[in-house]
Structures are given as structure tokens and as C-alpha cells.
């Protein structure tokens, strides 16, 4: 019961913040709203007994990725003119309507389905120990590949933004 109350509180916060992300004119406002949305979703992760993922969501998403985005927003320091006005074109509005229609259909489909209450929780479900055991035994190769992907992303970002010598700057 208390879980359901908390779920609805955090779900409302998440949806409101998400709406603010896509409607705010200033990217700084959207970034802060996105941080709030990610934190609310992290709380819902914890309610679903995904403790490790809730922690990682706060550390990696709300921490590292959002700091990176905020850093770039401050670095670019856009003037109001460069932010650009919001021009509405027919294509974009049609796209938004199509997305809305698809989402409505999906929601109808999901709510029609009867979800059996999940079977009783095993002790240790979603803890660091349990997730780590599965990650380092069954999914070791994908884990290593993901670390390679991160390395490639770091090198790619550095190479992309590096200024060449004699670049005319």
C-alpha cells in the first residue's frame, strides 16, 4: 500500500519533470529538470527492488552524464538569439501526434493485460552481490565488450574535440 503511494508520487514527479525537459526554452532548465526526472526514476527502481540499478542511476546518470551535459551547456554559453525560436512545422506536429497515438494504443494494450502479482521476492534479488554474480559469470563477454566501447568513446571524444596544430586559432 505504502509502496503504491510512493510509486504514484515519484511517477508524477517524473512525468512533470519530463514535460519540463521538452518544453523549457533554456537548455539549462531542461538539464536540471532531466536530473530531477532521473532521480525520481531512480526512486522507482528502488521501489522495484533494483537497489544496485537505483544507485547506478544516481551515480552514472544523474551524476556523471548530467554533469557532462551541464558542462557543455555552460561551455557553449548560448545567447538568446542562438537558442533559436520555436518554429512549428506541419511535419513536426504530425510526428508528435503519431507518437501520441502510438503511446495511447500501447497504454491501452498494457492496461488490458492482467499482470499477475510477482512471485515472492528471493532474498538478495537486485543486490550488488546477486547482480555482480550474474554479470561476472553469465555475461562476462558483453561486460568486457562494453568496457571496450567506453574506451572507444573516450578516445573518439578526445580526437574529435582536439585542436590541430596550426588550426588558424
Amino acid at each position: 500500500m505504502i509502496q503504491a503511494i510512493f510509486f504514484y508520487i515519484f511517477a508524477t514527479i517524473a512525468v512533470a519533470m519530463a514535460l519540463l525537459v521538452v518544453s523549457a526554452k533554456n537548455p539549462m532548465r531542461s538539464a536540471l529538470a532531466l536530473t530531477g526526472c532521473l532521480l525520481a526514476v531512480a526512486c522507482i527502481f528502488a521501489l522495484q527492488s533494483a537497489h544496485l540499478m537505483a544507485l547506478l542511476q544516481i551515480l552514472v546518470y544523474a551524476g556523471a552524464i548530467m554533469v557532462l551535459i551541464l558542462f557543455v551547456i555552460m561551455l557553449l554559453n548560448l545567447s538568446p538569439r542562438e537558442l533559436g525560436d520555436r518554429r512549428i512545422s506541419v511535419r513536426r506536429v504530425t510526428g508528435a501526434y503519431l507518437i501520441g497515438a502510438t503511446a495511447t494504443l500501447l497504454i491501452i494494450r498494457v492496461t488490458k493485460h492482467f499482470w499477475e502479482p510477482a512471485s515472492s521476492l528471493e532474498p538478495g534479488f537486485g543486490t550488488i552481490q546477486e547482480v555482480g554474480r550474474v554479470l561476472y559469470t553469465q555475461y562476462l563477454l558483453p561486460f568486457e565488450m562494453v568496457s571496450l566501447l567506453l574506451l572507444a568513446a573516450i578516445i573518439g571524444a578526445v580526437v574529435l574535440t582536439r585542436k590541430e596544430k596550426g588550426d588558424g586559432q
Binding site: 526526472c37 546518470y61 503511446a103 510477482a118 550474474v134
Partner: protein
């Protein structure tokens, strides 16, 4: 609880996708993508709880890593484009006539 979480996931994904289509500021478009990835994570967590299987958590872990890599490279590209053209408006970035 699974049904409600899935509805929340669909709502967040829809908002993110609409932002991706409607907004033209490159940084806000990127943040919409993060919102969509996050909605997918939420669905994975909900199904993981429903079926009592930790595999969903592993998927979330992988998606988070990919999101971090994507954010790093995409933001580098945004900085590059801003340096070259003094604009982050995607309508003005049309060299490739896409």
C-alpha cells in the same frame, strides 16, 4: 505494480520521442534521447521484477554504459559544430541536405 510501471515507461518514452521530433536545439534533442533510454530502462526493471530474473538488471547496466558513451561522443560533436558554425539549431545544420 508492473502495469503501472509500464504505463509510466510508455509516457516517459512518448514525451522523449515528442521532444526529439519537435525541439531543434541539439542539446535538448540529446536530453530527449536520454529520456527515452531511461524509459526503456524502467520497462526492463519492471519486467525483471515481474519474472524475478536479474538479467533485466544486466540489460539496464549495458544501456547505461551505452548512454554514457553516446553522451560523450554526441556532446563532442555538438561542441565541434558550434565551433564551426556558431549554431546548435539543427535546422541550420544542413550541409548534408538530409
Amino acid at each position: 505494480m508492473t502495469g503501472e510501471t509500464l504505463v509510466l515507461s510508455i509516457l516517459l518514452f512518448g514525451i522523449g520521442a515528442a521532444g526529439f521530433v519537435v525541439r531543434r536545439n541539439a542539446i535538448i534533442v540529446l536530453m530527449s534521447v536520454e529520456l527515452m533510454l531511461n524509459a526503456a530502462n524502467l520497462a526492463f526493471i519492471a519486467f525483471s521484477r515481474q519474472h524475478m530474473d536479474v538479467t533485466g538488471h544486466i540489460y539496464v547496466f549495458m544501456i547505461m554504459t551505452v548512454a554514457a558513451a553516446e553522451a560523450a561522443v554526441a556532446l563532442a560533436i555538438v561542441v565541434l559544430i558550434f565551433r564551426a558554425r556558431r549554431a546548435v539549431n539543427l535546422d541550420e545544420i544542413n550541409l548534408m541536405k538530409g
